[in-house]
Symmetry: D2
Subunit: 316 residues, 4 copies
């Protein structure tokens, strides 16, 4: 069996999970990890008995490594990803793909020129509850989708990264509603504020899609108990998705139904998909374009929150 | 014991409840009801062994009647209420107070000139769960209130009245958040649409209050199962209010607490308050001004949904 | 339309409900109430503009009254019911039917001799959730019924009647499981104790039915929050019944389903059934025999709790 | 730091977890595993880069191994554990400790004679929700404990072991209620049956403790959805324990409270406790005597189910 030689760049709390999961995927050979923090890099390297570095270039210089997961802070994504692409690595960039739209477009172009695959790490796409939801909607179980309503709230994290709650949390639901509605987002209105952080730590985001379909996303770092919930309302019924417990309930005029869904780790499914797609020379999902679209809406939300006006979404 | 002589004008599904409740209030003498539909008026009249009319003027002409509940369709509120006020009746007008802001202002002025009390029927104010919530917030249990999020959804009613879902349902939560935030609403943005009705049957409403406090209200007539929920997020915790079951839960960093609240019928508390206030020659709550403020936000939401732009709230 | 002339004997908290409900039933003329407490009898009499007495004999002496509800304390059931039967009244006796098996058998025999109908007030039989459960089981949705598990717990009532928690609360579930299993109860084992009352205030009751089907009932007056729950386990699935909210959920290997059930007041359905059966000259349900069977199991449980040994159920 | 050299005997689904967890415990050196199934033993051995055997004797013959976890089928426990003890190994025996009371007593005596520590694997003892419950009860939050009610039900496992549902599932709750009540169990009554298995696959167990405290345990392999729940009722309130989600709620007359509990893997806490106790030359918990007491009640339940009579618990 052919295996894909992979490495993980950035071994913070989420990068650690990439390493752990690659180590369990049959189609992947985890060869190396890198982290600026030497003790972190060393610990992970030793745990899996693989090479470890404190500089991403040392990973990217290795010709035996075919693909990388990029899990560093957002502001560094553009540079490292561009280097990775130029050295011919396939790359999975964690969300948010980059800090700016310009950077995101550059990455897409570079990957295209270089002939490598670029994927973006929207892990909720691989949540079994989301897949079941998409299947139910496709089967017409709730009629035409009119409204989506996401609630993604948590207590303030001890360590905030280099982006606010919109690019950190809301972006997940933005990508999911982009999939659920089969039409383009046209306009974004948002309010946001910050109570305890440098970046916005709460936001209410209204997204107007074509045909007056609407999404609303409430996100914050103010809420004691973590909630990750999506309610999709159609003309014939409603689906409630609990991302954390991977449960869905479907309501229609007769009753409420909760199908049993086999629980799976979304990151495992995501990385399996990434590895297998590349082994089969196919584009892995979600694509760079998906990452760009979600980022575009985040930027529109941030701008709307600043100006107090709705912002039109420009096509790419 | 002095009793207040009252009558109910409009005996549709909700007016019937006014009649039933007045009949159980010690301080009230229910003397008459009126409804355009003769069989309805007759049935209620006979049930309580009181006079019944098919014309509101016949009620208002009676000098022994001191106060009336007005439960007719919204479009008729302004005319009938004005007549009632001019005949010197104290009046409780069901929500929405009137169909237009102009009409609402006229009623307030007329009541003032005439020296009668004008109240507006926001029944959720009298929900024991709301009162407990306000008490907890006043005690500082969730810190400073930053966000309010209401979800008020139902299946399409068989018979839609003469207003859309914003003035019919969302107005309840608009009045409640006006109470919860001790600052003025400044701006409203809304999206809305209609799937199965003449008026809007779904809406997402964002209300920006002073100091960047935010409320979001989702309301529709598309959802199979009735939900009436309010989530208030503060700097130290969160309160979830279930209007229907009259339950609240308070979350903070230590846990979740549900105090047992004695269940009471909100309409009973509302009408007791109305009757007792008048018997004590005090202004009953909510006032005409409360009704006007909520209507003002409804109108702003409707205008925003039409223009696609946020609408500033004008002071009165 | 022919109406049945009825009266209510005993106007405590539950008897009051009989009066209120009869007053709303089209087929019934509520003619009189009786209660030893003059002010109670008077209040109810005046509320419905009917005759009121402080002595049950005055009701039973009236030849125009055709049927009575008997809602007095348990210890008085046998005497008053016997008098009612002898004066030719059809009778609905509240649960528990009588205090002793002997008394119950006497009533059945007397009603038979006298040619009047005797019914017993197991109100949970008329709970829409129970009817839906029986329908689902009949449709084979959970396969063969193997186990039933009831939990009926509350905080200690302010005023305890003249029986313990087994005859007061558990008897409801005993009657329901007698219906659910289509086989006879064979043996009962129970533990019980009393913490704060003269009679037992907690009990665990195991009932062994034919073919080794089993029921377990936990009941007490120790629990702060009222729960009335029944879980029926079959070879193919499970039904959970919430008596209070009138909701059921059905679990099988594919998922969990909650059908929407129209909420109805069980006492209304019970008294409508009683009145209509008599108007049609048919035996109302539940019968005296049902009452006897349930009482038989209660007595066995009490005896088992006392002796520490299982008690065989004797056929009638 | 001194480490304890450990091995795992039996690498079925649960033994695998012992190996994984020991590998993560700082105080333990996992040196070897054994399983009759060569491919299983080899897979685990290679995963952790340790020695693997197909015969437990090869593990027990190694003088460098100081302690073992015994995770083989129940019927083999007595023989292997006795050999382990005789070779001077400290031993953690999975539940049920042995198949017979005689065997259990022999192990306790042998460990005592040999001067090694014997522990039994009641993993629920280490569930953070159970510890929090015990703390709340000790603080008097629910008054005197009167009743315990456990529900431990699942769908039939694909592969049933060599014991029925009483020794496999109910034994967990038996051990927990033995801890919760600070008095001895005196008598057991049980009903049981088997629908789809050789051993009993459902059981209702009533345990009478001193001072008429009562426990009831319902367990089966008939229920589609897994439930592991314990309800403890005291004179002042109630605690509901959800073992799976590690959540507890406390009800009293004022309300319901759910303290947030940090989620931990119970097996990790169990094995850490085992390892650290031995490193400190202290008796690890739960002891062999705890295992014997629980087994004693299981045997009494099985006997009661067979004879139809309650069975007295003999002191040891």
């Amino acid at each position: 069996m052919t295996k894909l030689n992979v490495a993980v760049i950035g071994c913070g709390s989420w990068g650690k999970n990439h390493a752990r999961v690659y180590n369990n995927i049959k189609g992947a050979n985890l060869l190396a990890v890198a982290d600026l923090n030497k003790s972190v890099a060393e610990e992970i390297g030793k745990r899996y008995n693989i090479d470890w570095y404190t500089n991403s270039d040392e990973v990217l210089d290795r010709s035996d490594i075919e693909a990388v997961s990029l899990c560093t802070p957002t502001l560094t994504h553009a540079d490292i990803a561009l280097t990775a692409i130029k050295t011919g690595k396939h790359i999975l960039v964690e969300k948010p793909m980059t800090n700016t739209l310009e950077e995101a477009k550059n990455l897409i172009k570079a990957a295209d020129v270089q002939g490598v695959y670029l994927a973006v790490g929207f892990v909720e796409r691989f949540n079994p509850a989301v897949n079941e939801t998409i299947k139910k909607i496709s089967n017409g179980e709730i009629g035409d989708v009119i409204l989506a309503h996401a609630r993604r709230v948590s207590r303030r994290p001890l360590r905030i990264g280099d982006v606010g709650v919109i690019k950190d949390l809301a972006i997940h639901d933005i990508d999911i509603v982009n999939q659920l509605f089969d039409v383009e987002a046209e306009e974004v209105f948002a309010t946001a504020g910050n109570i305890a952080h440098q970046f916005e730590d709460y936001a209410n985001i209204v997204i107007r899609f074509k045909d007056n379909r609407n999404a609303f996303i409430e996100t914050n770092w103010l809420t004691p108990r973590k909630v990750r919930r999506l309610i999709v309302t159609g003309t014939k019924g409603l689906i409630n998705v609990e991302y954390i417990t991977q449960e869905i309930t479907i309501e229609n005029d007769e009753g409420i139904y909760q199908p049993f869904i086999e629980s799976r780790e979304p990151l495992l499914l995501e990385l399996e998909g990434f590895v297998n797609s590349i082994l089969h020379d196919e584009q892995p999902q979600p694509t760079g374009l998906d990452g760009l679209k979600a980022l575009n809406i985040c930027e529109a939300a941030l701008q709307s929150a600043k100006t107090g006006l709705p912002v039109r979404i420009q096509g790419d």
